[in-house]
Amino acid sequence: MVKHCLLFVVLVVGMPALSASPTASSPSTSWSTEDSRPAPSLHLTETDGSPYVTEDFTGNITLIHFWATWCVPCRHEFPDLQALWERYRNKGLQIIAVAEDSHEAVKEYLPEIDISFPVLVDQYGSGMHDYRVIGLPTSYLIDAQGRLLYSAIGRVLWMEKDTLKRIEGLLPTTQDY
């Protein structure tokens, strides 16, 4: 029995060393195609605690971005997200940042970043659960019909050519206005 216990301890302690591979530090945008199901509604709160409910995503292209203050890759995305917002906000793109964090942490953190799109707090994780988020950051693109089209787990280079092309492909054309 003692031998077995010692073996177990060795395995337990040694496993991380064996299996921990260095995580790639360079961000890459890897989009996955979703099943075009209707985007789940969001029943969240704003940073001041007031309720925020979105049942219907039709009419605009929506980018829902799940993040947290303690998530380092998430923090790096905000400058580009703000640039994206400023570029397309008048062309039919809305961005919703959903924080998987406490109100307190979000309120403390927001002054550190310069963003003007809505930030919501998912205190109990209902948004995370409904959207099946398994890691942060995770972003979803919803088309003007309210369908979930694409998702990306991990940091996205929002001003990268391919990403812009993907978003522009969803935006209404000039003739649509």
Binding site: S19, D101, Q123
Partner: protein, 345 residues
């Protein structure tokens, strides 16, 4: 690059609540089972599963010491004090309890989780008997093994300040322990095996738990309280109610390794043998409800290792008794190892 929840170690305390109830022999010896498993505390991301979580826990309990109150006594001393000419008297000299528990977790929504626990149990006991003529002999009883009492639990997050990596969280749980383990194993002479050696209690019992977590990352602290409301089993035996409190501290020493230290307090009421089927107080130390019910305190160091870039983790914990105060004479736990492997999908 992203932050995988399953590697964040924030809400892993839930498994501990689950494992509290995964012991079936809890009922037998007050201190077996219970908070024992609290080890899992924070361990395993089984309850963080997007779709389903599974944990397998192996538990090895070793019992040799016999106590009278808080004092340690030898088997021979117990025999000397209880044996009467013309009547035999037996005392356990060693008992090993092993249990393999399979724990499944299903998240119904962001606040509710359903858990199912299926234990397989194996119990062995060595005895010393002094016959009515005064002859002393050692003997090994048949090993009792098989399915134990399964449990189902619902856990409700009453409050959390954040869904992942919370600083504060309060969770309530309730459930039922089902009579799936038999309690009718018999010795070669036809007598029922001791109640504590049986696979189950044949009773429907209520389980209630409360967990409060407060984190100062990388330090996470928790207080678990649980109550096991026992009822009379089919055989007329009723194990004593159990009450437990665990104070848990876990420190994340690296992205993949948590070290934990717990204090576990358990109190078990005295058992009742309503029909007398399991009682033989004149001839056996363990077949005597006067020798049941206790209060124990354990200190439990543990380690949990998360498998990088996956939903898996492994954990190991050792429970060491620091105080045991028993009613009458009881064989108590000298140490318990708990090894857990869990995975979340």
């Amino acid at each position: 690059m992203y932050c995988n929840f399953l590697n964040k170690g924030a809400t892993r305390w839930l498994l501990s609540s689950i494992l509290i109830f995964s012991s079936n022999q809890v009922f037998a010896m007050g201190e077996c089972g219970l908070s024992c498993c609290l080890a899992g505390a924070n361990s395993s991301g089984v309850t963080l599963a997007k779709n389903f979580g599974l944990a397998v826990q192996y538990e090895y309990s070793d019992m040799v010491t016999i106590r009278n109150g808080t004092n340690s006594v030898t088997p021979d001393q117990v025999i000397d004090q209880h044996w009467n000419m013309g009547s035999s008297y037996s005392v356990p000299t060693k008992m090993i309890m092993e249990k393999l528990s399979f724990i499944g977790a299903y998240p119904v929504n962001e606040r509710w989780q359903i858990l199912g626990i299926v234990p397989l149990v194996r119990n062995q006991m060595d005895m010393r008997q002094k016959s009515g003529m005064g002859m002393v002999m050692n003997m090994t009883m048949d090993t009792i093994s098989g399915l134990g009492d399964m449990s189902a639990l619902a856990l409700y997050t009453a409050y959390t300040d954040a869904p992942v990596r919370p600083k504060e969280r309060l969770t309530l749980g309730f459930g039922v322990k089902m009579p799936t383990g038999s309690n009718d194993a018999r010795k070669s002479n036809g007598d029922l095996v001791h109640a504590m050696m049986q696979l189950g209690s044949e009773s429907w019992d209520g389980l209630f738990t409360l967990n409060y977590m407060r984190a100062w990352y990388p330090l996470v602290t928790q207080v678990n309280a649980f109550y096991h409301l026992t009822t009379e089993g089919d055989g007329g035996y009723e194990f004593g109610n159990q009450y437990g409190v665990d104070v848990v501290g876990r420190y994340q020493v690296s992205n993949y390794v948590n070290l934990g230290l717990e204090a576990n307090v358990i109190h078990a009421d005295r058992d009742k043998d309503h029909n007398g089927n399991f009682s033989a107080p004149v001839t056996s130390m363990v077949d005597n409800t006067a020798n049941t019910g206790l209060t124990s305190v354990f200190v439990s160091p543990g380690i949990q290792v998360k498998i990088p870039d996956s939903g898996g983790s492994v954990g190991l914990k050792y429970q060491h008794p620091v105080r045991q105060d028993v009613n009458g004479y009881q064989q108590v736990l000298d140490g318990r190892w708990l090894a857990t492997v869990s995975w979340a999908w």
